[in-house]
């Protein structure tokens, strides 16, 4: 459990900053990778583009995925993650401002692991991120490495 990478996909720098701030409170992750749009997130995950030289055996332990993203939106990113054997079992938590029913339905249909609506109240926001971090990195047992090909 050395490689506790969190992939945060967030286009809004304010939100990204606030999220990183929240994550830094406990420093449970070894590394937080920030992707600013869907393409970047997918490039990172599949070792393409700017991340072509990345060690693809290192996969994030948790992906925090916003829905509304430039280029490729969060739901499309989730579909690709679930479609690829390498990434299909990665825990993906939707972290978004949207409370729209259709977003919720679509996310769960694409097998997201959790859906968090970002509260406006920062204190609540920090609390939510802390819980996420703790839960997915500590409490939760990740899928065994053998399943990763």
């Amino acid at each position: 459990m050395n490689d506790r990478i969190i992939l945060l996909v967030e286009d809004n720098p304010n939100d990204a900053t606030l999220t990183l701030q929240a994550l830094q409170k406990h420093k449970l992750a070894n590394e937080v990778v920030l992707a600013r749009d869907g393409v970047e997130a997918l490039d990172y995950l599949f070792g393409r583009g700017a991340h072509a030289n990345r060690d693809r055996s290192r996969m994030p332990a948790l992906i925090l995925l916003d829905i509304k993203l430039p280029k490729v939106d969060g739901l499309e990113v989730l579909r690709e993650i679930r479609a690829n054997e390498l990434t299909a079992m990665l825990p993906v938590v939707m972290l978004t401002s949207s409370r729209e029913e259709q977003d919720l339905l679509e996310s769960y249909r694409l097998h997201c692991n959790s859906y968090i609506c970002k509260p406006v109240d920062f204190a609540q926001f920090v609390r939510a991120v802390e819980q996420l971090e703790l839960y997915w990195l500590v409490t939760n047992e990740p899928p065994p490495p053998a399943s990763r090909s």
């Binding site: 809004n12 304010n14 939100d15 606030l18 701030q21 829905i67 509304k68 978004t96 401002s97 949207s98 409370r99 729209e100 029913e101 970002k118 509260p119 406006v120 109240d121 920062f122 204190a123 926001f125």
Partner: protein, 1068 residues
Amino acid sequence: MIQRSLFVCLCAAALLCIGATAQTTSDFLTADERAWLKTHGPLRWSTNPNVPPYGFLNANKEFEGIAPEMMALVARQLGVELKPVGYATWTDTLAGLRRGECDLLAAVVPTEERQQYLQFTHPYQSLPVVLFVKRGAREIKSLKDLGRRRVGVSRNTMTDEWMRREHPEINIVLVETAREGFLLLAMGQLDAMASSLALGHDVITKNALNNLAVLPDSLLFSSPHCLAVSKGNDRLLSILQKAVDSIPKPELQAIFTKWSELDIKPPPWQFPAWIWEIALALVGGWIVIAAWNYSLHRRVAKQAKQIRAQVELEREMERRCAEVVENATDMVFTRDMEGNYISINPAGCRRLGYTQEEVPGLHITDLVVPEYSAGVQQRIDAQLAGKETSDYQLELLHKNGCRIWFEASLRLLYKDGKAVAVQGIARDISKRKEAEAAVEQERRFLRTLIDNMPDLVYTKDMEGRFVLCNAAHVRFMGVKSESDLAGKTVLDLHPPELARGYYADDLRVLQKGDTIHNREELVNDHNGVVHWHLTIKTPLRGLDGKVIGLIGVSRDINEHKRALESLRESEMLYHSLVEQLPQSIFRTDLDGRVTFANSRYCQSMQRELKDILGKTNSDLFPPDLAAKYRADDQRVIETGNVFEAIERHRTPDGREFYVHVMKSPLRDVDRRIVGIQCVFWDVTGRKLTEDALRESEHRLRLATEAAQMGTWDRDLKSNKLFWSPTQERNMGYEPGAFPGTYEAFLELVHPDSRDTLVAAQQRARDTGEYGAELKFQRRDGRVRWGLVRGQILYDDQGKPDRILGVDLDITKRKEAEEEVAKLNAELEQRVKQRTAELAASNKELEAFCYSVSHDLRAPLRSIDGFSALVAERCSNILDATSLDYLQRARGAAQQMGHLINDLLQLSRVTRCELRQERVDLSAMAFAIADDLNNSQPDRQVSFAIEAGVVVFGDPRLLRIVLENLLNNAWKFTAMERQPRIEFGTRLENNLTTCFVRDNGAGFDMAYVHKLFEPFQRLHAVSEFPGTGVGLASVQRIIRRHAGRVWAEGAVNHGATFYFTLQTENIRV
């Protein structure tokens, strides 16, 4: 005989005496028997009435002979009275016994045949039965000589039985009575007669059959005489037996001796027959000679005297005779044996036209018509031979050659024993002959007449026996000739059930002298076929006026009868028909008088038939009607044409109605008009209907004209098409210009409507109803629309015959419809456009909402987040006021976040699809209350939630409603010390209404209208937080559920929010 009668009287007297004194002599009887006699007396007895001397009836119908004297003895012995019962014959006597009319028979011989029905006492006498033969019948000397000879025997006698048994070789001739047998014997028809000695003796004596005698030594057997009773009458038999036994034998013997005048015992010795005969002959001869001698003497003396007297007489006679001859009216003539006339008296000469002088020259051939001369000669020859001749009839010739009928007798005149002349008397019978001929002619005429009559004609004698029957009768009876019927009565010829009636009539005519007119009777012919006969029977009277028979004439009226029957039947049929007809029928004669009226007519006239018959129109109707009817009648009588009309009629009671009248002339067999038959019936209903129909047709015509509705009528077989003028006008034709063919019609059908027409025709074939809206190209090229409707009429075979229909012009409507369709199309286009616009704006709105939910929140979160970070990082640098400002910025950002959430919710409430499910509001309220309690555990709020409130609706939206209402209640009771929140229902105007009530801050009803508007708040946020969107959402949701929401409240006195859902939606 006188002596015998005397004796009978004496006997009867003796009998009475004996009866009176005999009481004590019957002691040989038992007490029972005496008692029986008493109860069964007086006993009646009888015997054969025809066997003297045993028994016979004298002139006074009293019994005489041995039997009655025997019975007198029996009566004496029994001490009872015995009563004789006499019958005419032995057979009747036996029948009388069988009928119980007498109790016993006397002097009966117990033959085998009689023993079958009689019981006999022991014989009290035995009488010898012997053979009688003709005297001098030398060939019969004993029984042995009787072989094959005819021996008479009385039928059913012991002798009969005995002879058959003992001498079957003898030819027995059965006779009914002994007398008959002896007479036959005397006449030589029998060779012998077997009979009891006494009986034979009696018969011979009484009938002076002196040539008969007993055959000596011919005792056949002894026939026992007994008393007899009916078989089974044992008691009487025993009594009689005792009585017979008690009679002393000498008394019995005395009776017999007295009556038989013979010693019944055959002489102990007899001379041989031939000695007896010779002696008899000698004695007889002597007696005869002596007697003859004496009588000769007497006769000589007598004759001498007589001759003298006769000579005198003859002289006188001759003289008188001559006178008679001269003056006789008959012809008296003498002829010599050669036929020359010697004399003819004046009457004869006159009759034959000769003078006395001419007579000597006349020969028999001159006077006797040749065909009679043989007859005359025959008679002469007969007289020459010594025979008598009868009178005879012949025709003599008048001098002038005429034939005249005479009845003549002749005798020969002898001279010296030789016939020398023929004397004759001839009487002119020409008158009688003429009369006879006339009668015969008459008879033949009548006979021919009646034989040629088709009727049966017959006469009968006083016993009703046919005497004369005509040919028709013979034919009818199927016999060969009249003689087969003669002597028979109807009882012999017809079955009894029919004959009895005829016979009764016969007797009435014969006995009372009535004439029976026209008796209709059934008579069977020889084939058994029964005919109706009309019979007249009238008595036939003799010259003295006495009925001597009857004459009957029977006419076969079968045909007539049948014709009559059928006439009657047809009359009855006619009558019943006429009476049953619903029409009124009456007939009048030429004078207008009613001769017949059926009951219907009588009813309509309200009079009895008798009050109508003979009346005329003026008697029956008011003057105006009567005059009209009389005129109508007169016209029919004059023209012979049938008058038929529908006219107003008025009954006596003033009712008026329409009648259909037919008056036709009545004609007799010569086709002459003899009256009028009138038939009429009430057609008021029909007339009114017709009027109404005419009216309605008129109205219909007006209506169709007014509606510009054309009518048409198409004959499916000829394809002819009739159009009403309106239809023609509608199609652009001048009235009457349409060619009237279906093809012409088809040319007018617009191409657009051709398919419609074909489909409508197909439908019409299936359903019989024809209907379509068709577009036509009028004759003038204009387009017109017609609503065509029609109905198929079928012929008798069920095949379509015609189509009748109407054509309503709907061009204007169609044009309007087309306009509407065009407008509709435009409208639709517009709606589509608007819908697309709306869809686009919806989409925009959704995009807006999305961006609101997503994009507006992000900056707020940044404001709040960074403010929080600044406050955290610079808490030691910043003063309290700065930190407060930062906190306010964060508060505003958070408030903005809530607003955005509520707004999104409001928009979602409006946009989302409405589901209809069963929703348990109570359970939902409980859950929300729990959440509220959990969110602020320090608050003590009392919830009262009604259980079981279930509605149909959208569960998510209804949850929003309840959440909002309960949240509000929760929120606005925050200041309350004892907060209480209620959820429940109540009935309001039959509608279940839900409510949420609290006892919180309440509100001013003045602003109640603002409660449900978005972003309107009645309280300061600082007082009660909120965005003012919740109740707006509630109202939208309730409205989407077709319900209503309202609120009641007062400041500081809590608030109640009511809502209803769709009618009958809420179930408790």
